[in-house]
Assembly symmetry: C2
Homo-oligomer: 275 residues x 2
């Protein structure tokens, strides 16, 4: 059996890309020639996937954007997932987490009903809230450690003794990783902290949001986000790729921006690692 | 305008009940004479609501159990919500939380698409992840403070200086409560801590899971969960009510168990408060 972490590293090498595109598709931000219907959301996703799938290692699907659609939202999500080629991984980004019997339901929905390769999980409720997501080594879990938003300072940076809370989460994730299928969410907006986290978990995948609209730093995301072999960082970009153009050339504009980012990431990879 | 907290206290007095029934409806646990189809989940919910709505202040709907249904899950949820009488409040229990623009989507889905009166939110990502849920004072947010599960010890109890993390969450929630629509989730399994939390937020509603299947203590949940006027504790019970019987008498068995709990809660209320 190939564990999630092994699968991810393999895909990153096959695709020669660390880029992940976030399909945070907002019906109100679609190009005007697509009606803001639900089918338009799928049409938009289909065109973006068609234009970019050879440039990415993963697509990250932000579940909130689908739940907010009228009741066909789940249907749009399912059709989008079916459209993603099998040589690219999918991340269901819902930041779930609840008591054990409930987390088991979320894991079932994400991994079995929808078939995501990985999910994001919130650690606040502790081990039994994360455990149901871990049982299948082939499916991955990205645990929120240090997020890219301003609110990350409210609790994540609080000191437990001499170490911030997010480092306690990182250490716990390391301990829980007996199936080699755990990764961490670490925002690109906090590069110094990312460097410290990478030192604690030298081999764990990091899902890195915050590049693009949120202003995170790409070179340090690649330098500190990768393992010493130069992979394992999943660099997520959403809005700046999928809304690169708001007119009928949106798919080719998304491809151009994705290509630019993939190549920029590769250049940085080559600078710091033997890849 | 009536704020969520005022609405809740009013409903608890009108209904003379602090009981909340959790509709964690599992298709595999339905009485055998209901097929385990999706419509069966709605039929089950309908019968439970019909048999218990005069005995409760709220229904809490655990979103995981609906997401794990096949693609009609949202439809079952919508029909269930439409069936709940307007004199009882609904809590969408999804423990959501993400960066601001994404949390805004979750809030829109829960409050506008589904029409829940309140939602549960995970505080790990800080203020901007909670803020979008707070903007309408009539809709409420229960922020996870101290949960009922064993994993609550992993992070929630860690000490920041002399105070545990969950108390920092409580203090933050107090500060954020400018619209009088914030409550806290505090598990019945940790009564001493609940007493301390009640002292920090004397007037904030507490949503209290952990009674029943999880073994929490009902007398202290009522005593410490209520404000000094004897309301404001929302005592949630799921499995021990909805699965009180597994045969064709499940609805009347659920009513009996709900009646027993409501009356037991009332007796404790009368012992400790002038209600």
């Amino acid at each position: 059996m190939t564990t999630f972490t092994e699968r991810l590293l393999q895909v990153q090498q096959n695709q020669r890309s660390l880029l992940c595109i976030g399909l945070d598709t907002d019906p109100l931000l679609l190009p005007p020639h697509l009606a803001s219907s639900q089918n338009a959301v799928f049409e938009f996703n289909r065109a973006i996937i068609e234009a970019t799938h050879d440039l990415v290692c993963c697509y990250k699907i932000n579940l909130a954007f689908y739940e907010a659609l009228e009741d066909g939202g789940w249907n749009v999500l399912q059709k989008t997932l079916e459209y993603i080629p099998k040589d690219v991984l999918t991340i269901g980004d819902g930041k779930r987490g609840d008591i054990g019997n409930t987390s088991a339901r979320y894991a079932d929905a994400l991994f079995n009903q929808f078939g995501f390769d990985a999910a994001t999980v919130n650690p606040y409720m502790g081990f039994d809230s994360v455990e149901p997501f871990l049982s299948n080594p082939e499916r991955g879990v990205f645990i929120l450690a240090l997020t890219s938003n301003s609110g990350s300072k409210d609790f994540q940076h609080l000191k437990i003794g001499k170490r911030p809370l997010y480092e306690r989460v990182v250490s716990a994730a390391k301990k829980w990783n007996t199936n080699n299928n755990i990764g961490l969410v670490v925002g690109a907006t906090q590069p110094k902290q990312m460097k410290r986290i990478r030192a604690i978990v030298p081999r764990m995948p990091l899902l890195i949001p915050g590049i693009g609209a949120q202003g995170g730093d790409l070179p340090s995301a690649v330098q500190y986000g990768c393992t010493k072999e130069g992979h394992g960082a999943v660099i997520n970009v959403s809005r700046s790729v999928i809304y690169a153009s708001r007119s009928s050339d949106y798919a080719s504009a998304a491809r151009q921006e994705a290509l630019r980012l993939r190549d920029k990431i590769r250049t940085i990879q080559e600078e710091f690692f033997k890849v």
